[in-house]
Symmetry: C2
């Protein structure tokens, strides 16, 4: 059998999402900017998607800007705010376990003269709130902290972070990249004090090529891309109408019976974690245990072997997983997140991330728990490190 | 019956394109950056799409960068080259009939200190080649001239333009926005001397949300968006794998039996033009006649009435068309293209653009030719301008 356990990178599109998109490919294909019936039909679909998605994060009245994905949403949030607010200050705060997308954008901002501080995290990946409090100053314009670590599953105390920022300097904008959590770990942007939220469709069984930046009304953001504006005030180009409809449908399916789904996923996660800890010696869990760990994330290092070898052997048995640094599988650096939480580089190289979704089954977990110990044992037998 | 005659704005997705995409939604959903089987499968699909699309414009060996659409491709070409070459010069040449997407990007470049010249065009929309020759200087870094005018159908003498640029200053890069022509009017980028070509899927019965910038190998382009790079060296974010597969399929269908398809579309265009000229008095054709007019474009002003009224009345009869300035239907300015070719603003307001595709039929044209004269006559009866 097959087991797809890399849902943190991308997910299969739910058949009901494909069905929802189909009419917008072949029948309701109008350009949403145009005032004839076919245009209005498309316009209505895009606006409904915006409204629906806003409500799923408590962002009624916020603006939803569809983008090509969370990466573009992050770029628009970070560089767009930096450009708009550069006369107010040049200081930005993020953390050293952000998604590479956010870190690359921050590198670019540094090269443009912005001063970026990277918060440290503890051994479970929680950002240092005291450090945050000390760093927020009159010069700070933006704080960007991901809601959940896609790599080790840490759910940040986002409301506490929002409160610290507001207490220290209410003019600072708070951005959160929620690509690793949207539709899986609830967030209420008003309650959390989040001004800007990045989300993605293809992480929740929606289509690739669609994301959104949700932003509080009245926030000043400069565009990062130029061209003719269709429906958006900031993001040029023809809206991906079927994509936005698919995003809405994926969100509907994610939030429908949310508690049952979460219970199902947590059941799988804990089955997986118990299974690994009970059947494989010399494993190291990365990230927290319990309620502050994302239901979808399991991440262990298997000592004395390489994550990449495990990945290849599991793949040969139909199981898809990611190595330590999920976004960097073509680059053999140890994961920046594992480094940040203090994992020894040798151990970090043996990390495997399993990411679950509502579509996974107990059978897939049990199959993986059958194959994984064999693979680990075999690789350890062959390992030059085995006698260390 | 219905007649969709606004294919220049967007097109219905061909059912075969939807079928080609479907497996990449629900089965072959891997992330193309990842090295397990599902990732490789997606990687292969994206690379095959690139190769196929490059060959359709004689660009074998060129780099194909998938984007969210032609707008983003234009942005990457223009601002990407401007940023990369600003130390060599600050002069850019375009024309005053470019797509609003290109013109907005040029406005932004002007605000950043670049010196942009807008070539004039003659009454049929052909750019002034003498003016081009005089303007290309040592300071020029980029020329951007659209292959075909989406609004009035003018096919620019792109090879002559390429030659003039190379003769005057071989270091200048030549970009052409081919969103209005790709898959409908052939282009060979090597023969034409085009270094950068922007194309779009949703104009050729492919999906919205996918475009590409095709660029000659070795050209220095700076990114305009930042984030983690997946397969592209320049454009961050997860590739829209089903989108690229759909783009390839749409291109295959566009180029299959290309001559027969072109003959069919030209037949419809000429039937439409003859029908209008023979049955409706006081009409003014915009753009050239004959082989230098795009097979897909018909654009007439109907004197003494408003294009928008015609559009609404045709829409009520199931016929979708665009008014003069196709991209600006929510803004009541006269079309910048019609202004550039010297059309009186009053006449420009009565312009209607009909854009055809391989999926249109004689029946649709005949139905339109039955309805349109009635609509025009009725509106003229009611028009306050009728006695002018």
């Amino acid at each position: 059998m097959d087991a797809y356990l890399d849902n943190g990178n991308t997910t299969p599109v739910d058949k009901r999402v494909v069905e929802a998109m189909e009419p917008y490919f072949t029948e309701k294909y109008g350009h949403p900017l145009f005032i004839y019936s076919k245009g209005k039909e498309a316009h209505t679909a895009v606006e409904e998607s915006k409204d629906y998605i806003a409500e799923t994060v408590g962002a009624k009245g916020y603006s939803v800007m569809f983008t090509s994905g969370a990466t573009e949403a992050n770029d628009l949030a970070l560089r767009g705010v930096a450009k708009a607010k550069h006369t107010e200050g040049n200081h930005i705060i993020t953390s050293n376990i952000e998604n590479p997308s956010v870190l690359r954008i921050c590198e670019e901002l540094e090269s443009e003269g912005f001063d970026v501080d990277y918060l440290e995290v503890d051994e479970d990946g929680f950002v240092d709130l005291d450090q945050l409090q000390k760093l927020v100053s009159e010069k700070t314009i933006l704080v960007s902290i991901g809601h959940v670590s896609g790599e080790i599953g840490t759910i940040q105390p986002i409301s506490k972070i929002g409160k610290i920022i507001r207490d220290e300097n209410p003019a600072v904008l708070f951005h959160s990249n929620a690509a690793a959590s949207y539709g899986r770990v609830p967030i209420d942007v008003r309650e959390a004090g989040v001004d800007l939220l990045s989300i993605s469709a293809h992480k929740i069984h929606g289509p690739k090529g669609v994301g959104a930046l949700i932003s509080k009304e009245g926030i000043d953001i400069e565009p990062v891309n130029y061209g003719y504006l269709s429906l958006s005030e900031l993001r040029p180009g023809t809206e991906n109408v079927p994509g936005t409809v698919g995003f809405q449908k994926a969100a509907e399916l994610a939030f429908e019976n949310f508690e049952n789904k979460t219970e199902h996923i947590i059941g799988l996660r804990d089955r997986m974690m118990n299974g690994i800890e009970n059947s494989i010696p010399d494993v190291v869990l990365h990230g927290p245990k319990g309620k502050n760990r994302s239901p979808t994330n399991v991440n262990y290092s298997f000592k004395n072997i390489e994550g990449e070898s495990i990945l290849m052997h599991l793949d040969a048995r139909g199981i898809s997983v990611a190595t330590g640094s999920a976004c960097a599988t073509r680059k053999l650096e140890p994961s920046h997140v594992l480094t940040a939480i203090g994992v020894d580089p040798v151990v970090a190289h043996g990390a495997i991330r399993f990411t679950l979704s509502r579509m996974n089954t107990e059978e897939e977990i049990d199959y993986t728990l059958e194959v994984l110990p064999e693979v680990v044992e075999k690789l350890r037998e062959m390992s030059p490190m085995k006698n260390r």
